[in-house]
Symmetry: C2
Subunit: 179 residues, 2 copies
Amino acid sequence: MEQSLAHTIALLERTPAALDGLLRGLPDEWIFTNEGGDTWNSFGVVGHLIFGEQTDWMPRVKMILQFAGTRAFEPFDRAGHVRQSEGKSLDQLLDEFARLRAANLAELRALNLGPKELALPGRHPGLGSVTLAQLLAAWVGHDLTHLHQVSRILAHQYREAAGPWSAYMGVMQCGGHSS
Amino acid sequence: MEQSLAHTIALLERTPAALDGLLRGLPDEWIFTNEGGDTWNSFGVVGHLIFGEQTDWMPRVKMILQFAGTRAFEPFDRAGHVRQSEGKSLDQLLDEFARLRAANLAELRALNLGPKELALPGRHPGLGSVTLAQLLAAWVGHDLTHLHQVSRILAHQYREAAGPWSAYMGVMQCGGHSS
């Protein structure tokens, strides 16, 4: 499939509804249970997505437009969401994610990015040279990585319960593939 | 997390909304593109979930209640949805899945299953002896396997586009783990 700004926005604008449909109102046992050890639970994933809306994607888009590759992005704090999620409910987080995402996509649309802007370079502190088009595709991939993760976290809870079926369920064999 | 009928139903009743939120209105390029070869696209996944509502999960629940382990389940046809999805739109499939799922869960609730029923045995044509509780947990795991799959199919489309980020996105490294 060809990347396009329209395709990118179409996916990005649906992620809040997908997570809302899956998670809102689920019993706390589903939401606050993880895959063991210091892995994330679904509550943490939504908090992390909020933090990305605030500090990662659109700030980097704007850095590319302003500085092209002459200044590196701020490193993203993967634990940055923990403190700001404290004391909130999942419903609050889902509302906040939807609100921030809608605002960010309104801002993205208003930039009217064309081929020239999409080809502009940025400098990632770890990955090196990237383009604005790659940044937008990574935003989509990041959403889907976390939807993939949430489905895996939830399935993990029924790994024993599903008995002999577990061996045939892809999601129950998935280790996540993340470093 | 402990398995319970309430937890099981809470998850099962949210899957249609999750898929609806993610897929309804997405451009056809997202919906009808697969992971290459004869892999499924997202349209096919929703069709398969519908077929499961019609021929797999509740029919097997009822077989266990009626015959315990004395009769094997009908084998499930993994390609059975293809013909009946032909000519339909994704919106129609999403509506149909939501309607069938709601009806099946109403029927499941009305059975008022207790510990005695949940421990009843069934006979799976491939897996051998299972319990009603395991069948219900597998229903959940099956939903999540396909949500996991849809997130992976979608992410696959931007694997090239995301450039150096792709190597760090779990969903883009996932091969699916299914046989």
